[in-house]
């Protein structure tokens, strides 16, 4: 099973800055292993963020994104106590959702 994400949502004024760290290998599909065989691509393909259940961000990611990626975005109108949830789905179908409370 995938390791948990670290999500921080910090409110300043009428918006919240959300910082997300995801644990993922993000294998590009370009590298070869010790035996010279291509390591198959294995990366996050879809990212969704929700604010109190409402989708506020969707992204399609490819193999160019780094290992253990960091994502930062701003949610307008988010208040302290609001729930920010982030979901990723990788190209092998594995998925992980974590939630944080804005403060």
């Amino acid at each position: 099973m995938a390791d948990p994400m670290r999500i921080r949502a910090q409110v300043a004024g009428d918006k919240a800055t959300v910082r997300v760290l995801m644990a993922h290998e993000m294998e590009s599909g370009q590298r070869k292993d010790a035996a010279g065989k291509l390591v198959p691509a294995w990366h996050i393909a879809e990212v969704t963020a929700t604010h109190n259940g409402k989708t506020v961000l969707t992204a399609e990611w490819g193999p160019a994104v780094s290992k253990n990626p960091f994502l930062q975005f701003v949610v307008k109108g988010a208040k302290a106590g609001d729930k920010i949830a982030v979901t990723w789905k990788d190209n092998k179908g594995d998925t992980r959702t974590d939630e944080a409370t804005a403060s």
Binding site: D3, R6, A23, L57, S66, N68, F70, Q72, F73, G77
Partner: protein, 267 residues
């Protein structure tokens, strides 16, 4: 309530922008790059994993590590990192964080410590040892190094470490001191701290475990020293061996009073 701005620092993207700005030394650019990355230091992922592993019942004995004695009594982990390596009466040897974790994993959880020590870095239980060391180091973040030197074995270990540091050998006739024995030197773009004296807060011994952005790996002090020996073309030292621990004592005692920034972020 829509997202208006999306800034994705996808690790490598920042490099090119800083390089374009003129009148900046390479070192300054690297510092800037590090500062940009520091906000999302992936070592936090390893911290979270390590904390889980500490509390989780695992191994043949199905026990947690919560009763592990890291030198300040069973289960006390706050501030333990900045007092390691130290002498442990139960094992009769000086141990650093990682070798002490192996002892606890063997005695409490029933793992085979020798087997883990022989496992390659980044494989099997080694991954868990690194995660545990990362979390435990974070529990002493900002504290000052204060390695005990009261026990004769600890004094011997320091002296052994000092001599190893200056021992020249191998096909390149290298010693640790060849690179880390003088001030203001660099290897390519990396500043080389002078480790024969106190290098200051968060430098050298006070900056490991660290996450290496370039290869996406979390390294503990044992792997750091192993790689130093690799670069010197020495044979690999054993994991948690007396050699790497003695070097840890030498570096740690020299860093006395300096603050630990571990888990840190490296290029």
């Amino acid at each position: 309530m829509r997202t208006t701005s999306l800034i994705s620092f996808l690790a490598l993207g920042c490099l090119t922008t800083t390089a374009v700005v003129a009148q900046k030394t390479a070192v300054q650019s690297i510092e800037e790059y590090r500062a940009m990355l520091a906000d999302g230091n992936p070592s936090e992922l390893f911290e979270a994993k390590g904390e889980d592993l500490w509390k989780q019942k695992r191994g043949p004995k199905n026990a947690s590590l919560e009763a592990c004695d890291l030198g300040k009594g069973p289960g006390v982990y706050k501030g333990a990192f900045v007092e390691l390596p130290r002498y442990f009466a139960d094992t009769g040897r000086v141990q650093d964080m990682e070798s002490r974790l192996l002892t606890c994993m063997q005695n409490l959880q029933g793992f085979n410590a020798d087997e883990i020590a022989k496992t390659a870095f980044g494989k099997g239980e080694q991954v868990n040892v690194t995660a545990l060391a990362t979390w435990l180091s974070s529990e002493s973040k900002g504290m000052k190094f204060n390695l005990p030197q009261a026990h004769p074995q600890e004094k011997i270990s320091y002296e052994v470490g000092r001599r190893l540091f200056f021992q020249r050998a191998g096909p390149h006739d290298f010693s640790c001191a060849s690179c880390h024995g003088q001030d203001n030197t660099r290897i390519r773009l990396q500043d080389l701290p002078n480790l024969t004296k106190n290098p200051g807060d968060g430098i050298g011994f006070a900056a490991w475990p660290a996450y290496r952005v370039s290869n996406g790996q979390m390294w503990g002090m044992q792997q750091r020293l192993n790689d130093c020996y690799r670069q010197q073309r020495f044979p690999y030292p054993g994991f948690g061996s007396d050699v790497t621990i003695a070097l840890g004592v030498y570096l740690g005692v020299n860093s006395a009073g300096s603050k630990s920034i571990a888990p840190a972020l490296k290029r």
